[in-house]
């Protein structure tokens, strides 16, 4: 399965990126550090996210036929490009492993408490490999079915919660009690990076679409829509649970689903689990695909299927071994967002664009 004959339609790209953005955000109360302004934080982060989408797609526009790693190598040359590309592989393996782990934990908590974590993760990877071995375009096509399911479920949760009369919109007030500072602080870097910045990995397959001109528009639309959805989720989380309990509860979405009580519609946890699971599946799969693609690009690997399988199982190993517990996981989160993520997702792409701009200038000058 070489990359040469892969094509993704723009609709599939849209749906894939949308599912990627929904991803694991449903597991956390993002931006809750700003208390009841969390929904506002998301909107602010959304705007920052849009700015970086411009950066990512600008790189893509300069090198329309290449994926992100090829772009790095084109700009920096092989000497600097390849080490940086490998760093990206290592870095992307990390969120992939964490994602995998998160969803394993979720299944253990909510559905199969007596099942061993390794067995669940193993099946998860297996399913992901099964789809990815047929190529990224197959993953794209499955998203045509799954995205509507996720969206319908999400919207029905909001409607049901509203009908249950458990949402107290007073909990949202006062808006910006301590000024705009806490909102901005939480929005950048935390929320701007997770989930909006992470979309950079999609630039590993942006080059497969034939409608290159639509990439920027599509990505921006994805950021806006998923940001609005996320903001809405936080709005409901806080109005149902209050800011304090939203921040301490494990999976806010499941908690608010638990209070739904409309006639016979109670205990509909399964809807929440479907949303979380599908989001997680796509996010993890795209990360896995990205990591394997980085390695394949750098080393010019011919047998991509084998590489993908090996990467998948390596990922499984990392997910199980590198995180002793959920507590460690939560402790690690601010650390890697503040240092690693910001470097890889914001600083390096900006630098790349800048270096490329200088190179273009030099070319123009030398030609002129």
């Amino acid at each position: 399965m070489g990359a040469e004959n892969t094509t993704i339609s723009i609709q599939e790209l849209f749906m894939l990126m949308f599912l990627f953005e929904i991803g694991s955000t449903t597991l956390f109360a993002l931006g809750i550090d700003a208390k009841q302004d969390a929904w506002l934080v998301i909107l602010v982060a959304l705007i920052i996210g849009l700015a970086f989408i411009w950066v990512y797609t600008e790189l893509q526009r300069k090198f329309p036929e290449q994926n992100y790693i090829e772009i790095i190598i084109s700009i920096l040359g092989r000497g600097f490009g390849i080490p940086l590309a490998l760093l990206y592989a290592v870095y992307w393996l990390w969120p992939a492993a964490r994602n995998l782990r998160e969803f394993g934990e979720l299944i253990t908590i909510v559905a199969l408490p007596e099942e061993s974590l390794a067995a669940i993760l193993f099946l998860f990877i297996l399913l992901s490999l099964y789809v990815l071995l047929s190529g990224i375009e197959v993953l794209g096509r499955t998203s045509l079915i799954t995205l509507p399911i996720v969206l319908i479920f999400m919207l029905s949760i909001f409607i049901l919660i509203y009908l249950s009369g458990v949402a107290d919109f007073n909990n949202i007030r006062p808006i910006m009690a301590n000024g705009i500072k806490p909102v901005l602080k939480t929005a950048y870097p935390n929320v701007a990076i997770f989930p909006f910045g992470e979309i950079l990995i999609c630039s590993m397959f942006w080059c497969y679409t034939e409608e290159e001109k639509l990439i920027r528009k599509t990505a921006m639309l994805v950021i806006i829509l998923s940001g609005l959805l996320l903001s809405f989720t936080l709005f409901f989380d806080v109005s149902v649970l209050g800011d304090y309990y939203t921040s301490v509860t494990r999976i806010p979405l499941l908690r608010i689903i638990r209070v739904v009580d409309v006639g016979i519609l109670t205990n509909i946890d399964i809807i929440g689990i479907v949303i979380i699971f599908l989001g997680g599946f796509y996010k993890m799969s795209i990360f896995l695909y990205g990591v394997a693609r980085v390695v394949a690009t750098v080393f010019n690997v011919k047998n991509y299927s084998r590489l993908l399988t090996i990467t998948g199982f390596f990922l499984l190993w990392v997910a199980i071994v590198f995180e002793p517990s959920y507590v460690f996981h939560r402790w690690m989160t601010p650390f890697d967002t503040n240092y690693f993520y910001i470097t890889f997702l914001h600083i390096i792409p900006l630098l790349l664009l800048f270096i490329n701009w200088i190179k273009e200038r030099i070319n123009i000058l030398s030609e002129g």
Binding site: L112, L126, N171, R173, L241, V259, N267, R306
Partner: protein, 415 residues
């Protein structure tokens, strides 16, 4: 779309990996039915009750369990097997583990929607207890949390009268209170959690009492026969009456039914069915509330906080023993003023009890200040306990008589 040719190529390439995957899928079988739960192995908890034994310094946990295998021995399923199980322990988890050592079924909490807390435990503090429930993943966030006036042992020994089991009986009482009589107020676990976490909101929830029928045993003919063999002290029935007031999760005291009604007016929680009644000399009136809208607003004047409460209520006259001519608008206006005065009295009594007697901010006055004036709240929140009892509330009640009932003039004159 993939063409058949491409598909074939794919199959060839991946035949090895696919067969490997299939082989690996066998692993799934090895886990068998891990985590399975058969219906006849389950004990479905209908309600959970917690109490504190000050002598032994131990928590007491009590569950009422429905056993499905026994439930509905025939098609009708009329005699559900229910039993109470109790255990004690230094911590709640200890108690619940001790409980399991006495139960041969696997206890599941998915259908439990009542948490009853005994007076002693409530006095000791709700925070520890609620922490246990909030951490447990099986407990539903919309479970009602009620405070029992008597030790839970006594409360749970009451007999359900109309329903098959005590949990559904209590649930029925709560539902009825909302729509039919509005003289109690219950909150669920989620709201309890929010209020316990907030400093600007004290807790209030329904009071569960045992009530001994004064007249001959209540019930159906069938039950009357049964009751003959039951000792008199077991004939108690359960009742929801008034509310419990807590401050920082600790029980401070009770609100009686009229005070609870006053609370509902302040908190804008009246859905219907509540009545306003009064008698003046020989005249007697009662009116049922059709709909109600209350607005609570904090105001700052000269740095002092005061509240403005506006109540707008539509009522229907249900009893009127009077000389007034209810078809005349000035007489109706007189009646409306008197009813409003009465409602104002309810509200004032409740405010007095909460502010002076218990000093518990059950109305969320602090919360309302925080929502509207976050900066000012920061200044006064540390002294809130001293400020709250002195807060003045300006009450405005407006009552509109919407209906007069099926007769427009009184049948008898007051005697």
């Amino acid at each position: 779309m993939l063409s058949l040719h491409q598909l074939k190529g794919m199959m060839k390439m991946n035949r090895r990996s696919i067969s490997l995957l299939l082989l690996l899928l066998l692993v799934v079988n090895l886990t068998a039915c891990a985590g399975k739960r058969e219906m006849d192995e389950l004990g479905i908890v209908g309600l959970t009750a917690v109490d504190w034994d000050p002598k032994q310094q131990k928590y007491e946990i009590m569950v009422q369990v429905i056993v499905p295998s026994r439930a509905g021995g025939g098609m009708g399923g009329s005699n559900i097997q229910l039993w109470n199980a109790t255990a004690t322990g230094k911590t709640l988890m200890r108690a619940s583990k001790n409980l399991r050592s006495r139960v041969s079924k696997k206890l599941v909490w998915f259908h439990s929607n009542l948490i009853i807390i005994g007076e002693q435990a409530a006095k000791k503090g709700l925070k520890d207890i609620i922490d246990f429930f909030a951490r447990n993943k099986e407990i539903r966030y919309n479970s009602w949390v009620l405070i029992s006036e008597y030790p839970i042992r006594e409360t749970l020994e009451s007999n359900p009268r109309f329903e098959g089991s005590l949990p559904s009986e209590i649930q029925g009482l709560i539902e009825n209170n909302k729509t039919d009589w509005s003289e109690s107020y219950s909150i669920n676990l989620k709201d309890m959690l929010i209020r316990l976490a907030d400093d600007d909101f004290d807790e209030i929830t329904g009071r569960l009492t045992n009530h001994r029928p004064q007249l001959a045993p209540e019930g159906t003919y069938e039950q009357l026969d049964l009751v003959k063999d039951v000792p008199v002290d077991l004939r108690d029935v359960i009742a929801l009456s008034g509310a419990a007031v807590l401050k920082d999760g600790k029980l401070k005291g009770w609100l009686d039914r009229v005070e609870s009604k006053g609370y509902l007016f302040i908190a804008d929680e009246i859905e219907g069915g509540a009545i306003v009644e009064y008698s003046k000399e020989k005249e007697k009136f009662s009116a049922e509330i059709l709909s109600n809208k209350s607005k609570l607003k904090p105001e700052f004047k000269n740095g002092k906080v005061s509240f403005k409460l506006e109540v707008k209520t539509d009522v229907a006259i249900t009893e009127a023993i009077t000389k007034l001519d209810l078809t005349k608008s000035e007489d109706i206006e007189l009646l409306q003023k008197d009813l409003a005065k009465e409602v104002k009295k309810y509200i004032e009594t409740t405010l007095k009890t909460a502010q002076q007697e218990y000093n518990a901010d059950i109305f969320g006055y602090g919360n309302a200040i925080y929502r509207s004036y976050p900066k000012k709240w920061e200044e006064i929140k540390d002294d809130w306990d001293q400020i709250f009892p002195t807060v003045v509330t300006d009450i405005k009640v407006e009552i509109i008589v919407k209906r007069l009932g099926m007769i427009s003039q009184p049948i008898t004159k007051p005697q």
